[in-house]
């Protein structure tokens, strides 16, 4: 194309034009990455803490459940791991509060929260993802299965905090510990919730890889180029 033709075009068409959408507000992006880092630290230090007594039975006789390798843990020793855990839990909880507060007050929760309206869309998405079914037409930023996954992740985040308090303060929050069957069981639930969150993270990372660069970068810049919907 000669430069004369370019000059003749209206201004907005002089340059190559792309489709893009501002998908993730700044608060959500910041919370996402703070949460990613704090989750990493909480799981890593939590597993180091677990190494001190890798069991959910009695101390005498002690039957170890799993010997988690030190190299996949954070803190080096029990005291160090507790420092990481008791520091990053405030970042983790603060991030969660800011995120949930923002979602509620901005109305952004509508695009994330899984509701009864989304139920009928779940099966077609499962068919598409796992059984090579046709891709259902998408009317929202997140499909029903995504909403279900994100909503579950938020609930798991809340549960990790509640079970965590029952383990950390079983006397002051005796009602929480009681709900979970006492300190001994609360410790198990805290562990189970961690694995559930890690399972979500694994699925999340697989989907991020499958959906490519534009999708990944949108969680940093907010802008998604060529969105698929």
């Amino acid at each position: 194309m000669s430069s004369a033709v370019v000059e003749a075009l209206p201004e907005e068409h002089r340059e190559p034009v792309v489709k893009a959408r501002y998908e993730h507000p700044l608060v959500v992006r910041i919370c996402h990455w703070l949460n990613a880092i704090s989750l990493f630290v909480m799981a890593g230090s939590g597993l180091q803490i677990f190494r001190a007594f890798p069991s959910f039975g009695a101390k005498i006789p002690q039957k170890d459940l799993l010997n988690w390798p030190r190299s996949f843990a954070i803190g080096g020793w029990l005291g160090g791991a507790l420092q990481w855990h008791l520091t990053f839990m405030w970042i983790y909880m603060g991030t969660g509060l800011v995120y949930v507060g923002y979602e509620i007050f901005s109305g952004n929760y509508r695009q994330v929260l899984f509701t009864t309206r989304d139920v009928r869309g779940v099966w077609p998405m499962i068919r598409h993802y796992f059984f090579f079914g046709p891709k259902p037409q998408q009317h929202e930023v997140y499909n029903p299965l995504q909403k279900q996954a994100y909503t579950t992740a938020i609930v798991l985040g809340l549960l990790s905090v509640l079970t965590g308090f029952a383990v950390w303060k079983p006397v002051q929050f005796s009602w929480l510990a009681w709900l979970m069957g006492g300190f001994h069981w609360a410790r198990l639930w805290h562990f189970v919730v961690m694995w559930a969150i890690l399972a979500f993270v694994c699925g999340h990372l697989v989907m991020v890889i499958l959906h490519g660069w534009n999708n990944f970068i949108s969680m940093l810049t907010g802008w998604k180029k060529d969105p698929e919907y």
Partner: protein
């Protein structure tokens, strides 16, 4: 799909969709559109484009910037990326010197919050005798030796600091104070827990006996095995905080801390020092907080 949903094309209004012409009564039977019929009915009479806009929004709420130039997108993307950069501040946690300082601050904040969460009138759960961990399964934990070789005949608890009656207190004298027995949960920082039966007198009774200044900040103890600990005064005065000389209704055995130990159901295990030899009431800790605390454990660790 990718047209701008906010601006329906003008000629769309004339193409009335089926649902906008359905009479109100019939449409109401459609459970999914409880808010639609009234709008649809009135719109059908006077302003069809409105109903169409409502329907449009419901079906296709997504909007895509129709034509952002590549350069403009790169520009706003860079700007938005920079706004996320503050998250990198967490990178300070991997700088060796800063890491130590930050984690100390974080732990300190947790201790501060713990002290605020502590309720002096709130009791730890107590258990029935049938729920007790058998005595032989009650773990013996110490940092050095099971038995530091205390000579019971010569043993006294030496009281110093902010007390009106400092000096050496024999076990017989301490045991004159009211006996309290309780079945409570003992939780180790490692994660295990047992339910034990403990007997002794409230530390608050002893503090009264020695004329302690209970407005002071701390009660500190030293032990026969060079272990040492410190307690905030609120916990020291808690009704379940015991100077303990009995376990399972028997005199304390050597490996469990004979002749006298602390038993505190509102604290983690390492705060509950064994083989006590000295007790001090004080406002300052002089850099010595506790054996484990001085290696990086939480100072307060209230349960």
């Amino acid at each position: 799909m990718e047209s701008n949903g906010r601006k329906p094309e003008p000629n769309q209004g004339s193409n009335a969709k089926p649902e906008s012409t359905v009479p109100a009564g019939q449409a109401a039977s459609d459970a999914e559109q409880t808010t639609m019929p009234r709008n649809a009915a009135t719109a059908a009479e006077s302003r069809p484009p409105v109903s169409n806009e409502v329907a449009e929004k419901r079906v296709e709420p997504l909007t895509v910037e129709p034509g952002i130039s590549r350069r403009k997108l790169a520009q706003v993307s860079r700007r938005e990326l920079l706004k996320v950069a503050p998250v990198l501040a967490l990178g300070a946690f991997v700088i060796p010197g800063a890491q130590e300082w930050l984690l100390k601050k974080g732990l300190g904040f947790s201790d501060w919050a713990s002290a605020r969460m502590f309720r002096s009138g709130h009791l730890a759960q107590t258990f029935s005798d049938s729920e007790l961990t058998p005595f032989n399964n009650f773990p013996i934990n110490d940092y050095d030796v099971d038995d530091p070789g205390v000579i019971f005949e010569n043993w006294t608890l030496t009281v110093t600091g902010l007390a009106q009656k400092p000096g050496d207190y024999t076990l017989a004298r301490i045991q004159q104070l009211p006996l309290q027995r309780q079945n409570t949960r003992h939780i180790c920082v490692e994660g295990w827990d047992v339910i034990g039966r403990f007997g002794g007198t409230r530390l608050s009774n002893f503090l009264k006996m020695i004329g302690a200044d209970t407005t002071a900040n701390y009660v500190t103890v030293a032990c026969a095995d060079d272990y040492y600990e410190s307690l905030d005064m609120a916990t020291a005065l808690h009704p379940q905080t015991l100077l303990c000389w009995e376990m399972y209704d028997q005199p304390l055995t050597r490996e469990h801390g004979a002749p006298l130990r602390l038993q505190i159901p509102t604290k983690i295990g390492y705060k509950q020092a064994k083989y006590l030899t000295d007790l001090k009431v004080t406002n300052v800790l002089d850099g010595k907080v506790g054996y484990w605390e001085d290696q990086g454990y939480s100072y307060f660790y209230g349960l």
